[in-house]
Subunit: 349 residues, 2 copies
DNA sequence: TCACGCCACTGAACCGGTTCAGTAGGCTCT
DNA sequence: AGAGCCTACTGAACCGGTTCAGTGGCGTGA
């Protein structure tokens, strides 16, 4: 931080202003002078102070991301690392940085947003894990913090959204199971306070309806492993228990599969299973999990770009729709078992 | 950002300086005036501009973390989310924020550190995944960026370290296997360019030596799933193939276990397996994985505190040693098979 | 009662950039 | 040749804090 713009100006024999113009490619200096200034700046190893820039241009040169998930859950979710890597690829080209906040405790989330907004630490935030009637929309409005949401919130939101439709993936999963002869296809839903929990359920319901089937084999869970087990157990107790279950995420599918096998049932012999997310570890399960692969990296890249566009006023105002996720067929799905329902054994054989 | 310190000063009928003193609990104002200023500031809803603070006090009020891992790998590793959450709990009390950088492409890592240092975006960084002869030590020295390393680098490092010894965990795993009657205990090592890849290998070697056994069943890998499979295959081809394998991380253990089972061997019947990290999903494998549980959250908390201490000059200069990780015994380890070595089947039965 | 010291506060400089109003000098046009 | 205009640049204000030298008023001691 030793060499400042004044040093460069002095060394080049011009004023601070001229240096500023020269280095920001602004008119007001001749090409010859510009060249000389750039040359001198380079020789002196001048790096503009972001702090000074931030103060005078009233920008923070940083974007914020508040993650309000249990760290345990985060560690099993392939979404965030890739998503953040995607954000990073965009930011790398625009000298912006990412300020990350992990807020676990209740109330910590709102505090985190206030902290980012209050001192002007960030110019905008990316909203993930959007919830039903998400209170953060109002909060960000109050804080006057520009934002981009991942998927369009169900409440009224003034912020542009970058969406990736769950529908196609879930529909593909259901159709895949139908093609395998399944009729009793259940769904273990994610937490309904999240809009992606809801939309996946709705997609499953719609796909069932399209096939002329009742969407009654539903059990609500919360995206956690324990929730997946409980919901699976509930579905297996049904007299008309499913021959296939579409889970709202990989973690529930994984714990569900593990539970089902511990009950002495075979996957996919007795029960076919699909997940959602394509977590790296799912290909090493026994059997490897059929799941739905999204593209979080691209999502991050596009969301960051949308936010930057919004900040410098070049955003169209339109929502962006990303390519739909795709079904990845592995060995946890197979032909529907014969019509007679095998009872759930009490003990593993 | 509407209300500034001048507004407060004007409203309270004092000078900017007085307001600054009052709000930073510095001497120079009477208690009465201080109270009045605080009152007025509160009424006006004044929040100090971090940007201005950063410029005038020559601090960034931010810590940096550069993660140079493949996002795919990151998604399976429970370490970072918890670690970052730990950092966050410390930062929450000290109006500092965390600037995160994910650098995947080659060369991107150094660029990331330079980006953080150049504009003075952060006051210091936390170094994770320390490598053998880590070039970042020299880089940070050149950039004059304070740092804290996770574990002590093997090269000369001027930075305080916060360490969690791998040795005890690996030793416990080996001893657990010995107690189960295993003698041919192999190790699938992590990438040797990482010091935790090396130290885990050394710990395994030491534990074997302590039991009077040769540490020859070693296969080098790279912490990835594919690497785990290849190394496992290599060990299984040995004439004296192991009856137990200690893996350097969960992902390799997971893919290794999956591979072993696909070869028609039983876990733990034919081969016992241990992992490292205690990733959430490992308890849902079949069988659930015996692994070593660390405490990344605490690591993050302590590392952030150490860095903050260093920044305000209150750091002791001593390395911090965290509590050793503990062995979590699950079902992937069991009694050693009888002495006759079962051949590796060519096909699953 | 006067000198002295201290407390409480002010005013201004400063951090390192950006930006705007102002100006010198050269060129064109008539 | 003089008016007018544009280009290239300067100097200063400004962003919103921190910090330091300076000052006025009050209390204290001799």
């Amino acid at each position: 931080m030793a060499v400042t713009i004044s040093d460069v100006a002095h060394a080049a024999g011009v004023s601070k202003g001229a240096v500023s113009y020269a280095l920001n490619n602004q008119p007001g200096v001749s090409d010859a002078t510009r060249g000389r200034i750039l040359q001198v700046a380079k020789e002196l190893g001048w790096k503009p102070s972001l702090r000074a820039k931030a103060l005078s241009s009233a920008k923070a040169y940083a974007l914020g991301l508040v993650v309000a998930r249990d760290p345990k859950l985060l560690g099993t979710d392939p979404f965030f690392p890739s998503f953040i890597a995607g954000i990073e690829t965009t930011l790398a080209e625009h000298d912006y940085t990412l300020v990350l906040s992990v807020a676990t405790a209740p109330g910590a989330e709102e505090r985190a947003y206030r902290k980012l907004a209050d001192g002007g630490r960030v110019d905008g935030v990316i909203l993930t894990d959007v919830r039903h009637n998400d209170s953060r929309i109002g909060l960000l409005r109050e804080l006057k913090l520009p934002a981009v949401t991942l998927n369009r919130p169900d409440a009224d939101s003034p912020f542009p959204a970058v969406s990736m439709d769950d529908t196609d993936g879930i529909t593909a999963a259901v159709e895949h199971l139908l093609a395998l002869g399944h009729v009793r296809i259940g769904h273990v839903g994610g937490a309904p306070e999240y809009i992606h929990g809801r939309s996946r359920r709705q997609a499953w319901e719609a796909a069932m309806a399209a096939a002329g089937l009742a969407a009654d084999l539903f059990a609500e869970a919360d995206f956690t492993a324990a929730g997946g087990v409980a919901a699976t157990a509930e579905l297996l107790r049904r007299p008309d228990r499913p021959t296939a279950i579409v889970y709202a995420n990989d973690l529930m599918a994984t714990s569900g599969q593990s539970f089902v096998q511990a009950q002495g049932l075979s996957v996919p012999g007795d029960l076919s299973i699909t997940g959602y997310d394509n977590a790296e570890f799912t290909q090493y399960l026994n059997p490897p999990l059929t799941t739905i692969a999204t593209d979080p990296m691209r999502w991050g890249r596009v969301a960051a770009q949308a936010l930057l566009d919004q900040l410098n006023g070049t955003h169209s105002g339109q929502d962006t729709e990303l390519q739909a996720p795709s079904l990845l067929i592995r060995a946890s799905t197979g032909p529907a078992p014969s019509a007679t329902t095998k009872p759930v054994p009490q003990q593993s054989p």
